[in-house]
């Protein structure tokens, strides 16, 4: 019983992390209609930047620094590469971002080497919490909390600010945004940058749990995709829900059929998309 309870808690924590990783991907896909396959590498870049900065300036400044550096890279990527293929088939965006991801991954190889690196959690979050037999590392609790803040913050910002209203409108129908006199290219740049920064921050958070490797992001690319599709395109609540579903299933399935935990998310996605064509909480959007 303790075990099941631990697994559920663990699944929720994992789910929040997955949702945060997928959040940036979801925003960019929703507003710009671009399948950002560079999302994984931006995640890894965030982690590596943090690795470089953390000894110089400590946890919080390093995280902010990593997010800013990767954010600037995001602006450049959007302005130079992604901008050219708005309105084209999303697949071209896929090729361009994938090519970019390949190149950057190799740059990480050249600078940092292919060998893995590990990072310890910041000092304030070391150690573990025992509740009976249940064990939860403080760092995971911290990450879960932080992810909740990011997810909740994004959601509140989208629903309660005028900028958020524009972004939501953009997710629903981007042409409408420019028709209403807003600067659509600017909106897309801003959203892409925000997406990049969230990717970087999730990279920073995840690096202390999963270690670093130049190819670390690729492993989270497909899960992000699955989370977004299960939750539904263009819905932040959906992304959170999707993340929790993936997190809980991978966690609980490891008790029942541990051999197929890697396939389960795909099966769930297939079932969801089959019966709810727009995902669980999805709205109609520009990809249709």
């Amino acid at each position: 019983m303790f075990l099941v309870a631990s697994l559920i808690v663990n699944g929720i924590i994992l789910g929040l992390i997955y949702a945060t990783i997928a959040l940036g991907f979801s925003l960019v896909l929703g507003v710009s209609g671009v399948l950002n396959f560079a999302h994984g590498i931006l995640f890894a870049l965030g982690a590596y930047m943090y690795w470089v900065l953390k000894d110089l300036m400590g946890f919080w400044p390093a995280m902010v620094g990593a997010a800013l550096i990767v954010g600037v890279i995001g602006i450049i990527v959007e302005r130079v590469l992604v901008r050219r293929i708005y309105g084209e088939d999303p697949l071209f965006g896929l090729v361009i971002t994938m090519g970019f991801a390949m190149a950057v991954e190799q740059v990480l190889h050249m600078i940092f080497g292919a060998a893995a690196k590990t990072i310890n959690p910041p000092e304030f979050a070391q150690g573990v919490l025992f509740i009976g037999d249940m064990i939860i590392p403080y760092y995971r609790l911290f990450v879960a909390g932080f992810c909740t803040v990011i997810l909740g913050g994004t959601w509140l910002a989208l629903n309660n600010t005028s900028f958020g209203a524009i972004v939501r409108a953009g997710m629903y129908d981007s042409e409408m945004v420019s028709a209403l006199g807003h600067d659509l290219p600017m909106l897309r740049t801003i959203v892409f940058t925000i997406g990049t920064m969230i990717a970087a921050i999730s990279g920073v958070l995840a690096s202390s749990i999963w270690s670093l490797k130049p190819g670390m992001g690729a492993a989270f690319l497909m899960p992000s995709f699955l989370v977004v599709l299960i939750g539904g395109l263009g819905s932040i609540r959906g992304t959170i829900l999707g993340g929790l579903i993936i997190g809980l299933t991978t966690s609980l399935m490891s008790l029942v059929i541990p051999r197929f935990v890697d396939i389960m998310p795909y099966v769930i996605m297939a079932v969801v998309v089959y019966f709810w064509p727009r995902g669980l909480l999805g709205k109609q959007n520009i990809l249709e």
Partner: protein
């Protein structure tokens, strides 16, 4: 008139270039790469019936190719050991076709990204199963010991005879695929791509035709996969991974499959040859390779053939 239409046919030149391939001074030594290239042509051409003609972004074509590979390998090892490879090739093609039919029927009415991700799910599930099912698929170490013997009585164990077998299949498939692309059915597909709603109002059951083209394309993909298994002499589960499907999508888009019928051929040439050449000379070749993709799409957003002309019909 007749002769002119033949001399102006790009296929004539493509076939000529590849018929003489083994005799080129340097390139001719890459004989297996040549065979692989031809198989990749079949694969991307068939894939482009889905992507370029019907706008079906299948991300599971690698799985169909893989089904062909494993179908042929298992047939050759267990049903027809020591015999010619004809049977195995047919079974490979049919395996690809059946796989495509099964998936295609279920997801025939899904659109765009949803279609793509459902095919990814299909290929990842197959990958997971294949990787673990040691008894049948050999799991991690795959199926090996597939020594090709003969095809219709001809000895094809050498590299050059096998190259010409692949060439023969490529020529046949390429011609058939073009006939299909230019047939009424091909026009049906194009109409579905351009305006699916109008197409339904003109009597086209769009889902059904999507299913048909996916199945058909699955047959050619399976056939290419089956031929590949005899080229490699082995079959590995990695073929089911979505990255293999990604390769096809990228190769087709780079070449401009949505803009021209011949896009996939140009794309595959660039994709494979550049990969082999760059990787032979520089340790960090992925950097150049990745930037190369970016550059191509920046310069010609519709792929290389998008520069040349509109779709020939």
């Amino acid at each position: 008139m007749q002769i002119k239409s033949i001399t102006r046919d790009p296929y004539l030149y493509i076939f000529l270039i590849f018929a003489l391939y083994p005799f080129y001074p340097f390139l001719g030594k890459f004989i297996s790469l040549g065979s692989e290239l031809l198989l990749f042509f079949i694969f991307t051409l068939s894939f482009n019936l889905c992507l370029g003609y019907t706008a079906l972004p299948s991300f599971g074509h690698g799985a169909l190719y893989g089904m062909g590979t494993f179908g042929a390998a298992l047939t050759f090892l267990h049903l027809t050991p020591g015999m010619g490879i004809e049977c195995a090739l047919i079974i490979g093609g049919i395996a690809g076709m059946l796989g495509a039919a099964a998936v295609g029927w279920v997801i025939r009415n899904k659109k765009g990204i949803y279609f793509a991700m459902l095919t990814v799910a299909f290929s990842q599930v197959l990958f997971g199963l294949c990787w673990r099912w040691d008894e049948v698929t050999g799991g991690e170490s795959g199926l090996t010991g597939i020594a090709r013997s003969s095809f219709l009585g001809m000895d094809i164990s050498g590299s050059i005879p096998y190259y010409y077998l692949c060439f023969g299949f490529f020529a046949a498939c390429a011609i058939i695929i073009r006939v299909i692309a230019h047939s009424s059915f091909g026009m049906t597909l194009q109409s579905i791509r351009q305006n699916p709603i109008r197409a339904t109002y003109l009597g086209y059951n769009t889902g059904f035709y999507k299913f048909l083209v996916f199945t058909l394309s699955g047959f050619f993909a399976g056939l290419a996969g089956a031929l590949y298994c005899f080229l490699a002499g082995a079959a590995f589960a990695d073929i089911f991974d979505w990255t293999k499907s990604g390769d096809v999508v990228i190769a087709t888009l780079l070449g401009g499959g949505t803009a021209s019928f011949y896009g996939p051929i140009v794309g595959s040439l660039i994709f494979l040859i550049c990969k082999e050449l760059i990787s032979a000379f520089w340790e960090h070749w992925l950097l150049a390779y990745g930037l190369f993709f970016v550059l191509i799409i920046l310069i010609c957003p519709r792929g290389l053939m998008g520069l040349c002309d509109r779709k020939e019909q």
